[in-house]
Symmetry: C2
Subunit: 335 residues, 2 copies
């Protein structure tokens, strides 16, 4: 299968490096696997024979390459039917989903399978995109959109096939969890913990997307729609962030063997809010870790813990990619 | 597909009840799905048209049913090619694996798929059984053998397909974890915690299988063979149990923000021994919970927490069953 990677930021570059390291594995699944193109916001590299992965993985920017072209946009490339699958890893935009929404829509319309780690399009247009994928016989996988490397969607799809999922709750934002963990263990104020997180590159200069729970709410929407079959939008999530959490509140909780955590919940109600979590509960993980607690009728409870962001997310993207290669590649895997 | 359930103890009965509740789901995967037989250690029920599941699920013992027969053993039934798949849930026997080993071997020789939660045969004969399955084009799935409802094998198989698994460590025995947790939180002695566990039915009268780490070592063997491709035997596991753990040791650990946990490790060395685990580590779960910490090259670390025993294990069995039904049922799912 012919892959087009759309987006060459941190995640796109990490993916290319992982594909370089795992090329034998990928070829064992689909001996025709090749990267035919990589696009960034300004231009692209393309070769119908497949780009040279060693060259690609050495690039810091696509434009460093002598074959870099700017004559077409990523959306135009996708519409030309040059590829069988795209990995969409442009930056999340929850205002209008662009440019990811156009990329994914265009791909699905053209019968091209999609793997994405881009929350925006799925938060804004989950039903439209999944319906479009179904109508056109395409796969649309998005494991990397929620809790980074934690494989929650594939776990539910492949490992809990007999279970009915009853409720989901999770620590879905590593920045917030880092701040709350520092407040808990170091007994520092919210302001200092936030500043520290910013200095360490864990929090953005404008941290509101994280600390006001918007990012976690986006993940709640995707979880609700993907796992519980809802048709939820961002405005359906009741949301309280962590700006009001004082050191006093954290200390009181700690004395009673609780930690205050920002919990996203998919139950009858969709919610993101600070909650008291017993210190011994499996969900009560610290630092930048994320965790998802899945309540079901048979297994009762399964908790998954892992890295919620960073290059670990490539694990999720690669698993989605291999899932589609296995399902969709012609049978003659070993010619 | 025609299912024969071998074993009608706690797990067999729980499975029948779950199948009753999920029959629509199972039929949606394979419209020909039926339970054609259930065998216990003395006899069996059989109907080529399929047993009536409502009747089955009301039985406390198979022999209560008027059609109960004792003319053939389970192994004889399996060898008669009456079924396409067996679920083997007879009691674990790590001395010679019987009767499970004969049941599973017989099934695989006859081209019958196998789902099992029975550790014995897999601990004693992992390579032989998986080779036999491969040779005869059969599936052999055993999610329920390790850590009950925690779907570790299907997670690695389906959700971490691009990752290389580097190391596994886990709390693999709920009885031991219960005892250590009580010692940690209630500051009671090993002897009292054990007695309490026995009174609550969590520990056996002869607790050595659990507290000497034999059960955990069995799981280490299966994990090592199934996930890391080893050819390990029980005697390859260095094993220390928890009889020597004093309240003093637990208290000292606790003061330093550690808990003493019995950890099974699959690394270069295979090991079961008490270890200091930081209280804030995701693996540090309490009560009867089990946890498995998976280290990989891409995702870095994924921790899975859940119930390690009890009827929750039916989740794992049912997922294995559905996996095989999906893979092996004829395409005409919706006639």
């Amino acid at each position: 299968m012919r892959l087009l990677i759309v987006g060459f930021g941190f995640l796109g570059k990490s993916l290319v490096k992982a594909i370089r390291n795992k090329i034998d594995l990928l070829k064992s699944v689909d001996h025709n696997f090749k990267i035919i193109g990589v696009a960034d916001s300004k231009g692209y590299l393309y070769s119908s024979k497949g780009l040279i992965i060693e060259e690609l993985s050495a690039l810091n920017r696509l434009s460093e390459h002598k074959e870099y072209k700017t004559s077409e946009t990523a959306a135009e490339l996708i519409s030309k039917d040059l590829c069988d699958i795209i990995v969409e890893v442009t930056p999340t935009n929850i205002i209008n989903g662009e440019p990811g929404l156009t990329h994914i829509t265009q791909a699905l319309k053209n019968g091209i399978h999609v793997v994405t780690a881009n929350k925006g399009p799925l938060v804004l247009a989950f039903k439209q995109l999944t319906s479009l994928a179904e109508k056109n016989g395409c796969d649309l996988l998005y494991e990397g959109t929620v809790a980074g490397a934690i494989p929650v969607f594939s776990l539910v799809r492949e490992c809990l096939q007999g279970d009915k999922i009853v409720k989901l709750s999770g620590i879905l934002n590593g920045t917030v969890n880092y701040i709350l963990s520092r407040m808990h263990f170091e007994e520092i104020s919210f302001e200092i913990a936030l500043k520290e997180a910013q200095e360490r590159g864990i929090a953005e200069k404008d941290p509101s997307y994280d600390i006001d729970g918007i990012d976690a709410a986006c993940k709640v929407v995707i979880l609700a729609n993907a796992i519980m079959g809802r048709n939820a939008k961002l405005q359906d999530v009741e949301r309280i962030g962590i700006r009001g959490i004082t050191q006093e509140a954290i200390s009181l909780a700690k004395k009673a063997n609780y930690a205050i955590k920002l919990i996203g919940t998919v139950d009858k109600k969709l919610e993101v809010s600070p909650k008291l979590v017993p210190i011994n509960h499996p969900l009560c993980v610290h630092g930048t870790l994320n965790a998802i607690h899945i309540q079901t009728d048979l297994a009762k409870e399964i908790t998954l813990v892992g890295h919620g962001a960073g290059k670990e997310t490539v694990s999720a993207i690669l698993n989605d990619l291999i899932t589609i290669l296995k399902k969709r590649s012609p049978e003659d895997k070993n010619p």
